[in-house]
């Protein structure tokens, strides 16, 4: 089977417009209400005493029922996501597009929908919200699963979703992509952050000397990205008001699962790559909005990154004092506010900021003021060491910068490894044949993976602290990469997909806090309740600093061929969508894989791709 796939990737693709947006947050329903509240210096954070959210009262940005009432028995996440998507689809329809042809969806969430007992399978949850929203908006046609991407990249999910949406949209002049991020808060998440001692005792104070931690929040945001400029101008009430998404890039610290990079170098890399894609330099940036959670380490790291990128003088902002940290939704909600500031010519201050207190200087102020706007850089950073940066620009500055050219992209698969049924098999590109390199070992997973680990001679003590799916990924990566010369690990990325994600560990954490209370949450368990930790552990081991992402599939997507619109062939997904992501990045090499683990059952298949 010829595994080499080719694309023609437009080097200077069609301009991608932010044509419509919607949001539901603790500050209000709808973009207008939210902007008005921020401009008035308000916050959605308050002391929340709700045992379904946290065992102890905490300052949190809760979406109150007065802001968004619903009574259909479905989760808050489901209701918010369906509502936000249908709002932008209704806008799309009002601009004359009434079918789902050329329409795709990128949904971002860290944990997704909690229905009181556990999490709904994230792909299914997102897919059903998309279908309900399409129906509510009255669009014709059925959305294929190939057009629904569900990703979970911890706190950068929202910004990475914007980047993925741009990549999908930009090669075609009449393409529409809805990007949405959603997160709801409940004991699972709040207990975990409490165990990390990373919550503020009061209101978060990003970049401030007195900062002592973050506040959690919940909410949803959706945007309509499109290359159809007529639709964009129509929805924005004219060309002058439109904002475009002109650059985006991701990176990974490859340092530690919960502690950020000490240097900020990797976030700087993402910022610079995004700016380079947009064709701008530091002097063109009107304001910078970073993640700004208000923890000691995050804000210090960001200050270093901003200085390395030459952005230390640029007005710098965090919206966490308004919304709290809305995790998977943050990147979308906050990008919408960036776009609103650009088109309104207003910069909002950092609520509560008094005194600078970051390792390197930043230009932060609490004051709202008018500002001449041209572009902004928006970033996020998250568990697993992920970073994402985008450039938003007023359309009048950003369009028609470069001539339209296309460049062929090609990648070859150097090696494949699969682990299943007690066996590790390798397929080498040159030989083309499979070889069993470990096993068969008819024993429970714990013993199997320990034996496989021993056979590698690896002496990394951190292996034993990993959860089972990360151990599986770590061992698969070992056999995949053993003996392969990698000249520039900083240009290697990791893209994972799977059905179960971190479900096995989720159950462990949930079981623990249900039986023993939120206070007994274990940080070393909680840190693995994000599916992107699989890729992160691989990145840490090998120093891979390229983009590191996790995409969900649903359990009825298989490895065999199917022409059904509702089934995604996983190998095709890896050879198709994931390779498109690699084509659009600067990655020289990439680990691409599918991985699943639940209740002792396991499967992994990784390919190592090289750009040629």
């Amino acid at each position: 089977m010829n595994r080499n796939t080719e694309y023609n990737v437009a080097i200077t693709p069609y301009t991608v417009y932010l044509a419509a947006s919607s949001m539901i947050t603790s500050m209000g329903y709808g973009v207008e209400d939210n902007v008005r509240a921020i401009a008035a210096g308000l916050t959605g954070l308050c002391k929340v005493e709700n045992p379904k959210i946290s065992q102890h009262p905490m300052i949190l940005g809760e979406v109150a029922s007065s802001v968004f009432p619903f009574s259909n028995g479905k989760s808050k996440a489901r209701n918010m996501l369906t509502d936000c998507i249908s709002t932008v689809l209704t806008d799309l329809r009002s601009a004359g597009i009434d079918s789902v042809e050329n329409l795709s969806f990128v949904i971002a969430t860290a944990k997704g929908s909690f229905d009181g007992k556990g999490f709904e399978q994230p792909y299914r949850f997102a897919e059903e919200c998309v279908r309900d929203a399409v129906s509510l908006a009255g669009l014709h046609g059925e959305v294929g699963r190939k057009d629904i991407i569900v990703e979970s990249n911890a706190c950068v999910s929202g910004v990475s979703a914007m980047i993925i949406g741009k990549r999908i949209a930009e090669d075609n002049p009449h393409r529409y992509v809805v990007v949405a991020g959603v997160e709801m808060q409940e004991n699972f998440i709040t207990s975990g952050f409490a165990s990390f001692k990373s919550l503020s005792k009061g209101f978060c104070k990003p970049y401030d000397k007195a900062r002592d931690g973050l506040n959690l929040g919940e909410g949803c945001g959706a945007v309509l990205l499109t290359t159809d400029d007529k639709v964009a101008y129509n929805l924005a009430n004219g060309e002058e008001e439109t904002v475009i998404l002109s650059g985006g890039a991701m990176s990974d610290d490859a340092n530690h699962l919960s502690g950020p990079s000490r240097t900020g170098q990797e976030l700087c890399m993402a910022m610079q790559a995004a700016m380079s894609q947009a064709g701008i330099g530091p002097d063109d940036v009107s304001f910078l909005q970073m993640h700004g959670t208000g923890t000691a380490y995050n804000d210090d790291m960001e200050s270093k990154a901003a200085n390395l990128a030459g952005l230390q003088e640029v007005p710098c902002q965090s919206l966490k004092p308004c919304f709290g940290h809305t995790m998977g939704a943050a990147g979308v909600i906050e990008s919408i506010i960036c776009a609103e500031q650009l088109s309104r010519g207003e910069l909002y201050g950092v609520r509560g900021f008094c005194e600078p207190g970051t390792a390197m200087p930043l230009n932060v102020s609490a004051v709202n003021r008018p500002l001449d706007m041209r572009t902004c850089v928006k970033t996020a950073s998250g568990f697993g060491g992920t970073n994402a940066a985008i450039v938003l620009e007023k359309a009048e500055f950003g369009r028609c910068k470069r001539p339209d050219t296309a460049s062929p992209f090609s990648a070859e698969c150097l090696r494949s490894v699969s682990i299943a049924d007690g066996c590790v098999k390798i397929t080498d590109a040159l030989q083309g044949q499979s070889e069993k390199v470990f096993g068969p070992a008819d024993m429970p997973f714990a013993d199997f993976i320990r034996a496989a680990h021993q056979s590698t001679g690896d002496r990394n003590l951190k292996f034993f602290k990993m959860d089972d799916i990360c151990k599986l990924g770590y061992i698969t990566a070992h056999f995949l990469l053993d003996g392969i010369g990698i000249g520039h690990p900083e240009n290697v990325g990791v893209m994972m997909t799977g059905h179960t994600g971190s479900l096995d560990t989720d159950n462990h954490h949930l079981d623990n806090i249900t039986r023993n209370g939120d206070d007994m949450a274990s940080p070393s368990v909680f840190v693995y309740t994000l599916p992107n930790t699989v890729g992160a552990e691989i990145a840490i081991k090998y120093g891979f600093k390229g983009e590191n992402t996790f995409y969900y599939l649903t359990e009825d997507n298989g490895m065999s061929e199917s022409a059904d619109v509702k089934t995604v062939d996983i190998q095709e997904y890896m050879d198709g969508f994931l390779k498109l992501m690699m084509a659009k990045s600067d990655l020289e090499m990439c680990v691409v894989g599918v991985i699943d683990f639940i209740n002792g059952e396991y499967f992994s298949k990784f390919d190592f791709l090289k750009r040629i």
């Binding site: 165990s195 990390f196 001692k197 530690h256 699962l257 919960s258 502690g259 003590l461 034993f464 602290k465 206070d519 007994m520 949450a521 274990s522 940080p523 070393s524 840190v527």
Partner: protein, 85 residues
Amino acid sequence: MPELIDTLKAQVIEALNLEEMTPEDIDADAPLFGDEGLGLDSIDALELILLLDKNYGIKIANPSDGKAVFRSIRTMADYIEANRK
């Protein structure tokens, strides 16, 4: 106190997934963190805070307060003796 030290060593091994280690392998006075130590990191420090709460009812609110307490098994044992409920 020697009994507490032995118990504590076993509890630390379990809580931190220090596979292939036995209580005999841990010197009660050796540093837990840092290069000469067991290679523990920030998440391990948080787990030790949880261990103190779960097993001995002692709460440490600030991770930075934990630095002195978790220097070695012995300093942990001393702290527990002084503060246990």
